[in-house]
Symmetry: none
Amino acid sequence: MKVHQFTRGFWEHEPFLTLGCKRLRPLAPKLPNTHTCTTPSVPFDLKSFIKPDSGPRKPVSSDHNKQDPSSSHAQVETHPGGTRWNPTQEQIGILEILYKGGMRTPNAQQIEQITVQLGKYGKIEGKNVFYWFQNHKARERQKQKRNSLAFSHTPRTPTIHSVLTLETTRGEVVERGEEEDSPYKKCRRWVFECLEDQRRCEEEGRKTLELFPLHPEGR
Amino acid sequence: MKVHQFTRGFWEHEPFLTLGCKRLRPLAPKLPNTHTCTTPSVPFDLKSFIKPDSGPRKPVSSDHNKQDPSSSHAQVETHPGGTRWNPTQEQIGILEILYKGGMRTPNAQQIEQITVQLGKYGKIEGKNVFYWFQNHKARERQKQKRNSLAFSHTPRTPTIHSVLTLETTRGEVVERGEEEDSPYKKCRRWVFECLEDQRRCEEEGRKTLELFPLHPEGR
DNA sequence: GCAAATTAATGATTTATTCAAG
DNA sequence: CTTGAATAAATCATTAATTTGC
């Protein structure tokens, strides 16, 4: 087994770690932990600041002097006050079509493309796309499980199909003619290519999501 | 209930969805061979395109051919094949100190800083840092649970402390004097600041991880 | 001593669960 | 109640450590 011990070099010969121990305790001293067990056996109850854990969600201690002096750009409005992505109908539609087309866990490149496309119909970030697929996949699974337990066949699997039928059944056509490369047409083509790429990726067994935390709120 | 329907525009009038349900990817292939029967490890060449990462090195391990000319950055002891991150002792050390200091889920900015710092001691990416904290946190939790089940009272967490004590107890000091701003010193300062920032973030209750897939891989 | 075979660690992904905005 | 966002748990997969037979 690999035991993590300093074998050599670096600060193995410097007693500078006093800071590690002494300092960082002072915060989150309060809250004797509403949790059940959590015996405060450790000298530093790391537990206390481990996880805000939805509990002591302190309401923004009114100090906005946070660092990040470089926030000169108002790039994303995702959370000035804690707003979250509010997808438009078009965005949802595209996403569901992609899902219907078999896309489940798009890789980074695909997410990037999707984000760019959907960005035409409303503000959106890559993580929104990522989360959407995660959630949609999970919730479709839940739904399926519930349905398979309760009824053997549900009258509906409306989520995707409704979208599909809706657009395939609408006979009305907005006047086209010279608008051969209208936005929806280009988007259509893109979706097709995107799913093609998806299929190709799957066949190659290649999957490379590579998560990475982004957006340090500045830049 | 929000019904996803196209309200207007777009491809609401085009029956192009024939490509829809072609085949969902087999989630979790569940290869039975790997674990049970221990077939001789066949070299999976399909990994060859997983990671570009400065070109795939030669798979041979005999190092007689190692290219180590006058490359200025010789601190790269990362495996040639470059499949997954192989942390150095220094990197692990820093990470454990940060963990010990209370850091659990660094936000994007912190991860970025950490990545830059650790990058001095070997190749590393942000996602590696992110994953390390995830895994370490989870496995410390497991360990703690196991211990709490076995023994009722563990005096304290030995894992991290061992690291700390190791370097704090080593009395020997390499001759310093004019080396006031040696790398380890700067790194020390950085660790301190990083934990300070961590503490500040926690006090504000601010958490902004914001996952995002990166590295298109295939370009 | 040495590689192949095996095992233990752990990096990387996926899935399940939870929290909270609206 | 729905669902975006986030985290935890479970799982997969690969590397290093260790063992084993020669």
